[in-house]
Amino acid sequence: MSVLTYLGYAMVTVGVIFLFLGALGIFRMPDVYNRLQAGTKATTLGALGTILGVGLLQPEWFWKTLIIAIFIAISNPISSHALARGSYKIGIKPITKEDDMDAYAGVETENEEE
């Protein structure tokens, strides 16, 4: 067991724990936007940890796992951004505790240029 192996197992462990917490967050949060918050952040770090951890455990796979990790780190925020925008456009309002905390209301139809 070398240092790399220990580091790899530690990263995979942290990764799967965050994957679980992300899924739990998606289950527990009250509306779409909060679900996206929990889901995107926790599953991104979870997937990065798991994939790079396997890359360290199996050094000859490292470059390909690195490419998968970079792809996930770039694509996950983009898809969550698209989902948040789409949800707002079909009329799902975010839950807020006070009334005037939705700065996006009223401007969401302004940018129809594309």
Binding site: Y9, V12, T13, G15, V16, I17, L19, F20, G22, A23, L24, I26, F27, V32, R35, L36, G39, T40, T43, T44, G46, A47, T50, I51, V54, L57, Q58, W61, K64, T65, I67, I68, F71, I72, S75, N76, I78, S79, S80, A82, L83, R85, G86, S87, K89, I90, I92, E114
Partner: protein
């Protein structure tokens, strides 16, 4: 250790799938689907390590790319821009 990893991933899939089944609106279901695909991508890489099959890493890469395109398409469709 292997058992622990598999249990965590199974629980994650169960919770996300439960939200996908319960989700009151369509976008809740798509959010659940989005995180399910991320979990599956990570899970495939982990399985590749357990079984020592390099080909599963390629499967995981292609799966990640296709699921990203799929979720983007669903989001654009929901928005009405498709």
């Amino acid at each position: 250790m292997t058992i622990f990893y598999l249990i965590m991933i199974a629980l994650a899939i169960i919770f996300a799938a439960a939200r996908g089944l319960l989700g009151p609106t369509a976008s809740d279901r798509i959010v659940a689907l989005d995180s399910l695909t991320t979990i599956t991508t990570a899970g495939l890489v982990l399985l590749a390590f357990f079984f020592q099959r390099y080909i599963y890493v390629d499967v995981s890469l292609v799966y990640g790319v296709l699921s990203f395109v799929g979720v983007l398409t669903l989001a654009r469709y929901m928005e009405g821009g498709l």
